[in-house]
């Protein structure tokens, strides 16, 4: 075993510092952390670079404003170009796994079949992935939560679905000794969540990896079809986001980009790998989300308890129409204040009902129709990523369908009034009111839409015209020592929460890379 590495603040290493690891991994979230742990365990010398800070349990004080500022991309203000979709994504050591709601699914077989049949992705069957999912599930204590442990917000979703004859089942979660506080989205205050922060990253560090944080890789320098070095900016200031002027240089034998479905394509574009004939930054998928709130006479307390413990895929397959899956969403005061429509006294009336409010969401399963190109990631003049996702009519139709179904579910569960995310809100007090949801306007800024699942943008596939990386080892089609290992390689969305799919794919890919590198030296 190598000597232990460590978590190193880039602000302490001195400007111009040069690292020469065998493997440089850019991004410490689901893809990067698993890759780092497996590669270090196999004897490789690994440096992980992360632009966010190294926040730990002691920093997680269960306050939304603190968490958004410290742990989220753009302080949780990131949005699509037309501001039509709010984008929630982590930015910290451990990435989004530090702030997600712990819901785990293996990649569904129909999705893998679709990737094989429509996108030419070979060597990625459920049998190929099974041992890797099993290993990840063991390391991260992924297990189904008993129905009896659901909080009321989730239980209402379950009861409403069952009353309507819709499938709904308890989910799996990556937790250990969870106290079910309800604050997963702000970083787990008791280290119950088995995020990358406390699992695969410490595993990698114990075997010699270094995690260099508060360092943003600006570009990869490519010569002769190889990445020769990465140039990073050290970040500092009170927010930890301001370039200090110090630089870090990394000259590695191999580079893995694991910066997520927005920042990975953006880095490749900044590195000069874009252009009209490459698919980098295309086919970005978001599982766009709409939601309802249901008011109940009894307390719901949607801010306490495991945030997500029930999911329904009863509407996932809708023939030619866009499918949906249904889940619950935890709401604390700040999220509630942004999700509830209106302003002034009208907004306040919704806020004071918070303890009696349930929040349920419908996530659109995007990317499975040939006429559905998804969104794009391009570069702003400053070099920052710009996500454009014009919501197509097919998804607006799915939102209309999903909101109606959610309203039916909450009415069946006993809500006395259900409100959609329209502004002004559509109020549904009985089945007779459901037609109001059908008649409502659906357009940017008419109804609230957000995304917590970003996928695609560096798709895998055999054809360089339509894919960025090769499926068998996630290697860039024309840069021989560059791999992309994160959710950006998915050719479509998933129809389930993505974290376990990223873990499993990274586990499989790191295993294959080690075997391949062992042969090539």
């Amino acid at each position: 075993m190598s000597a232990p590495g460590g978590f190193v603040d880039a602000g302490t290493v001195g400007t111009g510092k040069k690292y020469t690891p065998e493997v440089c991994i850019i991004g410490s979230g689901a893809g990067g952390a698993v890759s780092a742990a497996l590669l270090t365990a196999a004897g490789h010398d690994v440096l992980v670079v992360e632009e966010g800070g190294h926040r730990t349990r002691k920093d997680f004080n269960m306050r939304e404003d603190v968490a958004f500022a410290q742990l989220y991309q753009e302080g949780a203000t990131r949005a699509t170009k037309d501001l039509g979709i709010t984008l929630l994504q982590g930015r910290t050591v451990g990435g989004t796994t530090v702030v997600n709601w712990t819901t785990c699914f293996r990649t569904p077989d129909p999705v893998l079949d679709h990737w094989r049949d429509r996108h030419g992705v070979r060597g990625l069957t459920s049998a190929d992935l099974a041992p890797h999912f099993a290993a990840v599930e063991e390391r991260l204590s992924i297990a189904e939560i008993p129905l009896a442990d659901s909080n009321r917000n989730n239980r209402l979703l379950y009861d409403g679905c069952k009353a309507l004859g819709l499938e709904a089942t308890p989910t799996k979660r990556n937790v250990k000794q969870c106290m079910k506080s309800g604050y997963c989205g702000m970083g787990c205050p008791v280290d119950a969540k088995q995020s990358m922060l406390i699992t695969y990253l410490p595993d990698a560090v114990a075997r010699g990896a270094t995690v260099l944080y508060r360092c943003r890789i600006e570009r990869l320098e490519i010569e002769g079809g190889r990445v020769v070095r990465a140039r990073g900016q050290v970040l500092g200031g009170p927010s930890g986001r301001t370039p200090t002027g110090e630089v870090v240089v990394i000259e590695a034998k191999r580079f893995l980009v694991s910066a997520g479905a927005i920042n990975s394509p953006a880095l490749l574009l900044r590195s000069g790998l874009g252009g009209a004939d490459t698919p980098i930054g295309r086919r970005t998928f978001l599982h766009p989300v709409v939601g309802i709130t249901g008011h109940y006479k009894d307390l719901v307390e949607p801010y306490y308890g495991a945030p997500q413990s029930i999911a329904s895929h009863a509407l996932a397959h809708r023939g030619a129409d866009v499918g949906l899956f249904l889940e619950a969403a935890p709401i604390h005061p700040v999220i509630a204040s942004t999700a509830l429509p209106g302003f002034g006294d009208a907004h306040r009336r919704g806020m004071i009902e918070l303890p009696n409010t349930a929040a349920h969401i419908a996530l659109a399963i995007d990317g499975f129709s040939p006429d559905e190109p998804g969104g794009t990631v391009t570069l702003r003049p400053s070099g920052a990523a710009l996500v454009d996702y014009p919501i197509p009519p097919r998804i607006w139709e799915a939102f209309r369908f999903g909101l109606r179904k959610l309203a039916e579910i909450d009415l069946a569960a006993g809500a006395d009034v259900v409100r959609t995310g329209h502004d002004p809100s559509i109020e549904v007090r009985s089945v007779a009111d459901l037609a109001k949801i059908d008649a409502a306007a659906y357009d940017v800024g008419r109804v609230s839409v957000f995304s917590a699942h970003q996928m695609g943008g560096c798709a895998m596939g055999p054809d360089p015209k339509t894919a960025v990386v090769r499926p068998e080892d996630l290697r860039h089609h024309s840069v021989e020592n560059l791999h992309v290992v994160d959710g950006s390689v998915f050719p479509t969305s998933l129809g389930v929460n993505p974290q376990e799919s990223i873990y499993g794919l990274a586990h499989l890919t790191a295993t294959r890379l080690h075997a391949s590198w062992g042969q090539s030296g």
Partner: protein, 170 residues
């Protein structure tokens, strides 16, 4: 809305942002809300508009529009430089009597309107045919409301008890 129509309105919206400062000097803003701290992104006019918006979004007696505006400015600075610039233009567009006259027959700057007319101006953004104005309304509304409800002192009024006490498993 058909895609072509959306694109046309989107382009018009983009042009509006570019014109957000046109004519602002003809009827200056009413700087009722002066900043208490050094501004890092906004100028005093933009800050006054933002604080005026905050006063209408959060009407609770304990709300402090100036403090809310400072907090929103801090939050906006987490975004990309281009997003920060767009936010400044959005505030100028809301204030701009020229644009207000063109779009809503409302020639007075936002900061010079009585409260009820300010609400009407915000609703005109909400109900606009231009996606950019609708999105802008939500950005202003969400940022100011979030700034208010992130304050612990507001939680009791909602019946939200706050985070539980925790014990770290050994």
């Amino acid at each position: 809305m058909r895609r072509r129509g959306f694109l046309r309105l989107g382009l018009l919206g983009g042009g509006l942002l570019a014109l957000s400062s046109v004519g602002l000097g003809m009827w200056p803003a009413l700087l009722r809300h002066a900043p208490r701290r050094k501004l890092e992104l906004l100028d005093e006019m933009e800050f006054a508009v933002l604080a005026a918006v905050a006063a209408r979004v959060v009407t609770q007696p304990d709300a402090d529009p100036i403090e809310l505006a400072h907090r929103v400015e801090e939050a906006v600075r987490f975004g990309a430089p281009e997003s920060q610039d767009d936010f400044k233009k959005l505030l100028r567009l809301l204030e701009n009597g020229f644009a207000g006259m063109l779009l809503d027959l409302r020639p007075r700057p936002f900061t010079r309107l009585p409260p009820e007319a300010q609400d009407a101006a915000l609703l005109a953004f909400r109900d606009s045919r231009l996606a950019l104005r609708r999105s802008g309304y939500h950005a202003l509304r969400r940022l100011t409301a979030a700034a208010y409800y992130s304050n612990i002192s507001t939680w009791a009024g909602l019946g939200y008890p706050g985070p539980p006490s925790i014990s770290v498993p050994t």
